[in-house]
């Protein structure tokens, strides 16, 4: 499976959203507003100071960092009781990434990774998913604080925020995830904070 796998599974966790003001997306890359052409997202993200990663080895590492949080969002890993649990979680994400790889563009800025998935699989609908990954992302904590229903489950703390929708936009949502565990275990991870955004809009004018 490719794009639809990623987008559909992210959507599963967006059923219950705390609605936040549109300003909640301040500080995020430009992933939550419709653009005239899906190809314009790369241009907009680069204009926002992000650098496209092309080196294959660097890209592979960064892509895994970004995907780790989609994997966590999909599978809610059990609490990390041992360091091996963390290693196994990372490797299960690698396996899932290899099996469900869709076209994902990878960018970096100041040590933070951004994965961009533009999915036009469904007719007349555009899905834009952005995956941010890093360590101690301030926005991740802010989003969790902004969602009164954020919760800890197993190895993750997760919060969901919905942004106002209008006209052709059916979904604008933010999911923040922090991986939890003893410090010695968390350092095994390529990143411990993630922010997932999803924008779904109609391509029909």
């Amino acid at each position: 499976m490719t794009g639809p796998f990623k987008v559909a599974t992210l959507g599963l966790n967006l059923a219950c959203l705390t609605i936040a003001p549109a300003a909640a997306q301040d500080g995020l890359p430009p992933c939550l507003d419709p653009l005239p052409e899906p190809a314009a997202y790369q241009t907009a993200i680069e204009a926002d100071g992000w650098a496209l990663v092309t080196d294959p080895a660097t890209r592979a590492e960064a892509e895994l960092s970004a995907y780790l949080f989609l994997h966590a969002n999909n599978f809610f890993p059990d609490a990390f009781a041992t360091g091996a649990d963390v290693v196994n979680f990372v490797q299960s994400a690698e396996t899932a990434l290899a099996q469900g790889r869709g076209p994902m563009q990878i960018f970096t800025r100041d040590g933070t990774v951004l994965g961009l998935v533009v999915d036009e699989t469904y007719p007349e609908t555009v899905n834009i998913v952005c995956l941010l990954a890093g360590n101690d992302l301030p926005l991740a904590a802010e989003y969790q604080a902004a969602d009164p229903e954020s919760f800890d489950m197993g190895a993750i703390r997760i919060g969901f925020l919905g942004l106002p929708v209008e006209d052709l936009v059916s979904t604008r949502a933010i999911v923040s995830i922090r991986l939890l565990g003893p410090e010695g275990f968390l350092r095994i991870l390529p990143a411990r904070d993630g922010i997932l955004t999803q924008l779904i809009y109609s391509a029909v004018e």
């Binding site: 590492e61 895994l64 360091g83 091996a84 963390v86 290693v87 990372v90 490797q91 010695g184 390529p190």
Partner: protein, 207 residues
């Protein structure tokens, strides 16, 4: 026939005399394995502080697994190997990584050496730790022989070292052992590991 003295056969190893502090024989990066820490996470933090980095990605852990598996094959080399070519063959044949064993432990890397940390669930008031370190150049083995003298067995193609310290008042023990091939690297082409060190600590009292 398997060698009688295996690294883990501590029962046949006598306490090394006049040992002030066995842990001091270890180079700095390996000291955490001879220290008492409260949890696996704390051991990992101590090892990170000494320059070790955790391995998580599959390609990294596959490399680590191969090096460690070769090291473990060296640990149990049979006696009477006729030549270096046979030595290489035996090590490679016996070094199929045990995924089940390795997947249940964190693996770390530092300067081309690979370490497996094993910290079983602590029993009340006891801390047990084992580190296996494998690679092609293990300074720990040199330090042991330089600072303490040779204590072990020599075989035609490899040397076995073992040191053992029982702590006072039955409060645990520290055992350090190692095996190093003694043939030039060019005579054992294709090997990822030519030495292994095994550090076992057993400490009474939680930190």
């Amino acid at each position: 026939m398997m060698r009688a003295i295996a690294l883990c056969s501590l029962a046949v190893v006598t306490a090394t005399p006049a040992m002030a502090d066995l842990a001091e024989l270890l180079p700095e990066p390996l000291r955490p394995c001879a220290e008492r820490h409260a949890s696996e996470s704390d051991y990992l933090l101590a090892l990170y502080d000494r320059g070790w980095r955790p391995l998580a990605r599959q390609v990294e852990t596959r490399m680590a697994n191969q090096v460690i598996a070769e090291g473990m094959a060296i640990e149990y080399l049979p006696d009477g190997i006729p030549n270096a070519w046979q030595l290489t063959r035996v090590i490679l044949e016996e070094s199929a990584p045990s995924d089940e064993f390795l997947m249940s432990h964190v693996r770390l890397e530092r300067d081309g050496q690979y370490l497996v940390l094993m910290t079983p669930e602590p029993e009340p008031d006891w801390v047990i730790v084992d580190c296996i370190v494998a690679g092609t150049n293990l300074p720990g083995l040199d330090m042991m022989t330089e600072r303490f003298g040779f204590e072990g067995n020599e075989f035609p193609w490899f040397t076995v070292l073992h040191y053992f310290e029982e702590r006072a008042n039955d409060s645990g023990f520290l055992a350090i052992s190692g095996v190093r091939l003694t043939v030039p690297p060019e005579n054992v082409p294709g090997l990822s590991a030519t030495a292994i060190v095994n550090i076992s600590g057993n400490f009474q009292g939680l930190p």
